[in-house]
């Protein structure tokens, strides 16, 4: 564009003059480009999470009332979290599977111990968001389908999770995510 501008201009007799003029035209167009980019930055950045959304960063939940075999749904960053008190049988099902050869073929190999806090192997806390495309799996509410492996089942595209919320069958790429959390007595603080 700058070059055309210069050629569109009747040329000065001296070469020296022409080069200087070219330079100014190129500089002016470049400056306009830099200004344009500078303006675009805030226009893009405005779509990122705003300060009030980022501030909703932690949730505290009292789990005293969750009996073995029960699960509750909590809310963290406006998304469901499953807090599940596993029965000894469920813990056993999860750990026994870890000894079988199938365990090595898992898509996302993790032991129950890796997915829970030490001393709280029965307390499974995961995000209630299927890692496939973000639906909420069933199995936390009373009477919901728990899938072939007794954990969670996502009805959207048929992902089956086991009692450690690990993906065992279906299209989901990862186990249900475990959020960062800390346990203090009966209070779980997520985030």
């Amino acid at each position: 564009m700058a070059q055309e501008a210069a050629t569109g201009t009747p040329l000065a007799t001296e070469d020296e003059g022409v080069r200087r003029r070219d330079f100014i035209n190129i500089a002016a167009v470049s400056a306009a480009g830099v200004g344009g980019v500078a303006v675009i930055y805030p226009l893009i950045s405005q779509m990122a999470p705003s300060a009030d959304v980022l501030a909703e960063s932690s949730t505290e939940i009292d789990i005293a009332a969750v009996q073995p075999g029960q699960a509750i749904k909590a809310v963290f960053r406006r998304q469901p979290v499953f807090i599940r008190n596993l029965t000894p049988a469920e813990v056993k099902a999860a750990t026994e599977f870890e000894a079988t050869p199938d365990f090595n073929k898992m898509r996302d190999k993790q032991t129950l111990a890796e997915r829970t806090k030490e001393g709280h192997a029965n307390l499974l806390i995961t995000m209630g968001i299927c890692t496939h495309l973000g639906c909420v799996p069933q199995g936390a509410g009373a009477g919901e389908v728990k899938g072939e492996f007794g954990g969670y089942f996502c009805p959207c595209h048929g992902s089956h999770y086991d009692t450690a919320a690990r993906i065992r069958k279906g299209p989901a790429p990862r186990n249900l995510d475990v959020p960062e959390y800390a346990i203090n007595g009966t209070i779980v603080k997520i985030g």
Binding site: A12, I24, N25, A31, A38, A74, V75
Partner: protein
Amino acid sequence: MIRIFSILVGLFFTVALAWSLLWDTVQLSKDGLPTSAALEFGKAHDLKPLKLASDGPFGKFDKKQLKRGFEVYAGVCASCHSLQQVAYRSLVYAGLTEKEVKELAAKATINAKDPLTGEMKDRPGLTADKFPPVVFAGTGTPPDLSLITKARKGGAAYIYSLLIGYETSQPAELVKKFPDAKTPEGMFYNPYFANLNIAMAPPLASDDLVTYSDGTKATKDQMAQDVSAFLVWAAEPELEQRHQTGAWWILFLIFATTLAYMSYRNIWAEKKGH
């Protein structure tokens, strides 16, 4: 044809205006120019001078002053005036530490929807919450202060003047000339207020209403200045970022415009008359 019609329309409007003008002139000669106690005795156009660190194109907040100002707000104003647009978390930009903000928020009671049950419940505040509404026991509704410096002509200087501008009695001349403007029982005379009589009792009636954590002596004037500075921050938390971004951007624009002007002169160099 169109021009004859247009002249007729023009004359119609002129006659209608002349008619209004005539009657208004008659009325004016009878009544004289309008006047009111506020016009003659009000000082809204003659505010007390206030200098803040945030003034001017390069102004920045004085965080120590903002913190003192917040202490005045919390100790004096907050019992009647809410601050509902301001979130607790943002007070870290007004000179409070994160720990102080957390403690402060926890003391508040927030009525919010329980995300699990859906009921409205009272719970202790979190830093992500905004200041709750204030239930005022008296008559009228004291205005929310989040935007007050932007919502009043004169801004911070108006707040400052209003706070320390109370006068114990009305000028005798005022009462004589405008008997209706006499301060009613339970109200207070303040020449900086729009209609001179304000329902708010002098909030900064004596020194040392608050104890500043930084040890500054809390005189009436000091408290009024500090709380005005704090309210500027509450209304325009973006002020510093705005001033800085603006300075760089305008500097760049001047540079780019100069280049563009030189380029324009270049392009037109061979054309006469420019």
